[in-house]
């Protein structure tokens, strides 16, 4: 399969007072092939979330380009993308069903398909019994599951997940991993950023390590592990980001 998401020399800067700016993403180029899971790894401040938000259009790039399915980001392309932000906050006084109905319609899902898709998605994430509850009564774990639900609701071909394992208990992590494995089997392409190296190792095909807005290395996970006698992604990661003494 060809490239689903392609970044070309992407540079993102933030204004830091008059005439000053900080480079958050520095000339990043990256390609994600169809049907693959790419684990985006890096320490805090590496630029993972900024990169993801730029792809989605929440942040503007100073230079470079983003293309999804071979074309610049457009409304049509966005219909084929599911995004799960790191922070799972929803409207407190709506129910998951109402939120999904609103977001599904904004994603262009037809009225006829929408109720079926909502039922199915709530079942996948394990929220069917809480479908009619107000979100203000949700625990963090339940909000995370709803966060995943809104990302997969419209059956997107490309999923962009920012820290999908954060805030989940061990059972929740296993559930999330199973959902991601299921999506991979369906042929979805997934870009996920994570601090959870063990989780990323279990599900990723490719690994991309970032530090200070740059890509240190992007390669198939198998290739990285093959190079190492200890076969440890964690040690490789620490070596790459210069934290081997930790």
């Amino acid at each position: 399969m060809g490239s689903v998401l392609s970044l070309e020399n992407l540079t993102v800067t933030y204004a830091r007072g008059p005439g000053k700016e900080k480079t958050a993403i520095d000339g990043v180029s990256l390609d994600i092939g169809g049907g693959k899971i790419l684990g985006l790894l890096g320490p805090n401040g590496a630029g993972k979330t900024t990169l993801i938000k730029t792809v989605i259009g929440l942040i503007g790039a100073k230079n470079g380009s983003v293309s999804i399915f071979g074309a610049p980001v457009s409304a049509a392309a966005k219909r084929r993308v599911g995004y799960m932000p790191e922070i799972a906050n929803f409207y407190w006084f709506l129910t998951p069903k109402e939120v999904l109905k609103m977001l599904g319609r904004l994603s262009g899902v037809g009225r006829n398909d929408l109720s079926v898709r909502i039922e199915k998605t709530l079942e996948i994430v394990g929220l069917s019994d809480e479908a009619g509850q107000l979100i203000k009564n949700f625990s963090k774990g339940m909000s995370e599951r709803l966060n995943m639900a809104q990302a997969i609701l419209h059956d997107p071909e490309l999923l962009i997940l920012d820290e999908p394992f954060s805030g989940l208990d061990p059972l929740g992590r296993i559930h999330m991993r199973n959902i991601l494995s299921g999506l991979k089997k369906e042929g979805k392409t997934i870009l996920l950023s994570s601090h959870e190296l063990s989780e990323a190792e279990l599900i990723s095909d490719d690994i991309c390590v970032m530090k200070k807005g740059r890509i240190l290395r992007s390669a198939p996970l198998a290739e990285i592990l093959e190079e190492r006698t200890d076969k440890s992604l964690e040690k490789y990661f620490l070596q790459m980001i210069g934290g081997q003494d930790v």
Partner: protein, 241 residues
């Protein structure tokens, strides 16, 4: 266009489930019922006093609803990051702003309808049928325009002010222009929402506003609403989230 209505309907649903709206309703009804039960200074004087108090409360409370709800919309979405779920979808930032405005405006209009119903009911309770229905309808239309004006203004201010400062400044503009008129500082440079306020006509049962003047005032409010929302879009369009 459909995205705007989807967003507005979400805002409407969320706002009508909040307790603060019902507290304002309850407060208005209690004050109106209490005022309706009083009598002093002669029947004619009190009748006028009651009409004035009732319609003034209706104006003030509805403007408070429009301003406080509008001032919270975008800051709340950006602070909690719930905006990401919307703008990562094929929704433009203009649709987002107009959808938020329309949601707040529709809640404000629904509240206004309830306030007017309570006010008219209180007038009936006092056997006061002196206000021509046409005047009440005109009052309602212009009042709705006033809410549109302030909801749009509060949405614009919310892009660079905190919700609390936004509410305070918007209310100062409302009270300043409607109470102090031409003596308000920089009066000639400011828009004039007080033109949309026909409380005196309702209180004294004067002649309704001529149709041409009513149309002009509605257009005046639409132009200012559009200007404020366009300015809000110009600021929000390039903002990194």
């Amino acid at each position: 266009m459909s995205n705007i209505f989807i967003l507005a309907s979400g805002v409407f649903k969320e706002l009508v489930r909040r307790k603060d709206l019902y507290l304002i309703f309850a407060l208005l009804v209690i004050i109106l019922l209490y005022a309706a039960s009083l009598s002093f200074g002669g029947e004619a004087n009190f009748q006028r006093y009651f009409k004035e108090i009732g319609i003034s409360l209706t104006y003030i409370f509805s403007v408070i609803i429009a301003i406080t709800f509008a001032s919270r919309q975008i800051p709340q979405e950006t602070e909690t990051k719930s905006v990401y779920h919307i703008l990562s979808r094929p929704v433009s930032r203009l649709e987002f702003i107009v959808g938020k405005f329309l949601g707040v405006f529709s809640v404000s209009i629904a509240s206004l309808a309830i306030f007017y119903a309570a006010y008219i009911a209180a007038l009936f309770l006092r056997n006061d049928l002196s206000t021509p229905p046409a005047l009440l309808i005109e009052g309602f239309i212009l009042h709705a325009c006033l809410l549109s004006f302030f909801a749009a203004l509060a949405i614009l201010f919310s892009l660079f002010l905190s919700a609390a400062s936004n509410a305070v400044i918007s209310l100062i503009i409302y009270f300043g222009t409607s109470w102090f008129g031409a003596t308000f500082p920089a009066y000639i440079y400011l828009p004039h929402p007080e033109l949309l306020d026909i409380r005196d006509k309702i209180v004294h049962s004067w002649d309704p506003v001529p149709a041409w003047a009513l149309s002009f005032l509605v257009l005046y409010a639409i132009v200012y609403t559009a200007l404020f929302l366009s300015a809000a879009y110009a600021i929000f369009r390039k903002r990194d989230l």
